[in-house]
């Protein structure tokens, strides 16, 4: 398998990862991303993208790390675009999901890699009302997400104090 040569800023981001900068203060990372979005600044290779009121995402320009906190309406509605989809392949090595305060019960949640397409669901899960964490380690079996987006789905609208935080780790290589 041919790996593309990572740019220096990606190496730096990996060092941050090793230090637990992404995994430990997940909520802080979300706040940080919001700050970047609010300030309209670009920082350390991250582009910011707002996807609606109360929603914000942080996307690495090379889409090697994707995070999003969602407070959304029901359906496939929290799209994070993968603008290089035509030219590159994305391989996911780890999925981290943290959530809390689920009051609509039961709820169906999914990650799809094609906008609004249930048939492209790559992971489905049913959150517990009390909250929880899911860590799916695919480092030994990377999974290709071939679509042009990461689309996060919930079957019901989340309340103001309810949130689901997704992080996808992986790498992108040229087709």
């Amino acid at each position: 398998m041919a790996f593309s040569v990572p740019p220096e800023d990606w190496l730096k981001a990996q060092e941050e990862n090793a230090a637990g900068a992404f995994l430990e203060p997940v909520k802080a990372a979300a706040e940080e991303a919001k700050d970047y979005a609010d300030q309209g600044v670009k920082y350390a290779g991250y582009a910011r993208k707002e996807v609606g009121s109360g929603q914000y995402v942080r996307v690495r320009q090379a889409t090697r790390f994707v995070s999003t906190k969602i407070q959304n309406t029901a359906g496939f509605s929290n799209v994070v675009a993968r603008p290089n989809a035509e030219k590159s392949r994305f391989f996911c090595t780890k999925i981290l999901i943290i959530y809390r305060g689920i009051s609509t019960f039961p709820m169906d949640c999914r990650i799809s890699d094609v906008v609004g397409t249930a048939a492209s669901t790559r992971l489905q899960w049913y959150p517990e009302a009390s909250g929880g964490k899911i860590v799916l380690d695919l480092s030994d079996c990377p999974r290709e997400f071939s679509g042009d987006s990461f689309d996060f789905y919930t079957s019901a609208t989340l309340g103001a104090s309810e949130w689901i935080f997704y992080e996808l780790f992986g790498w992108e290589e040229d087709k």
Binding site: M107, L123, W125, Y126, E128, I134, V135, D137, L138, R143
Partner: protein, 161 residues
């Protein structure tokens, strides 16, 4: 001799070779000889498979190839059930290639006659070897109410067993 100019590569050489740059110079040139390296490990055929079941009983998540063992790398199980559902557990099971015994890979216990959603994930840094020609199964067991279970597995076959 080709010169290395990429700072990340030079930094890696410095770190991985424990070079003390205060005393020794950093190697910055490549040999003129190109030495190809052949990786002789068998290629993996990676699979990601999921299955959903909303009735009682077993369903095959994966029917393992009859000529190759399957190496299970991770397994996720998630369920949602109604208050009327009397299930007490849901499980994923497979056949151990070494012991030739059917074993539970992942199990969720439930409070019977209680509405619940649950999920559990397990990763195997050293993959579990499951026997060729057997099934990895998702099993629901209830006589009343409604339950939906979803299982997601990742693993691989080796090109040559």
């Amino acid at each position: 001799m080709a010169t290395i100019n990429n700072s990340a590569v030079l930094d890696a050489i410095k770190k991985k070779c424990f070079i003390q740059t205060g005393r020794d110079g950093l190697p910055m040139q490549l040999s003129n000889v190109v030495a190809p390296v052949v990786i002789a490990d068998p290629e993996k055929e990676i699979l990601h498979i999921d299955a959903t079941k909303s009735t009682t009983g077993a369903t095959a998540v994966l029917a393992i190839n009859s000529s190759k063992d399957f190496y299970l790398n991770s397994c996720m199980l998630t369920i949602t059930k109604s208050a009327a559902c009397d299930a007490v557990k849901t499980l994923v099971r497979g056949t151990n290639a070494y012991s030739n015994k059917v074993q539970e890979i992942l199990t969720l216990g439930h409070q019977t006659l209680t509405a619940e959603s649950q999920q559990i994930v397990i990763s195997f840094p050293q993959p579990i070897r499951l026997k060729k020609g057997t099934n990895i199964e998702l099993i629901n067991a209830f006589t009343a109410g409604a339950q939906t279970s979803y299982c997601n597995i990742s693993g691989y076959y080796l090109e040559e067993d």
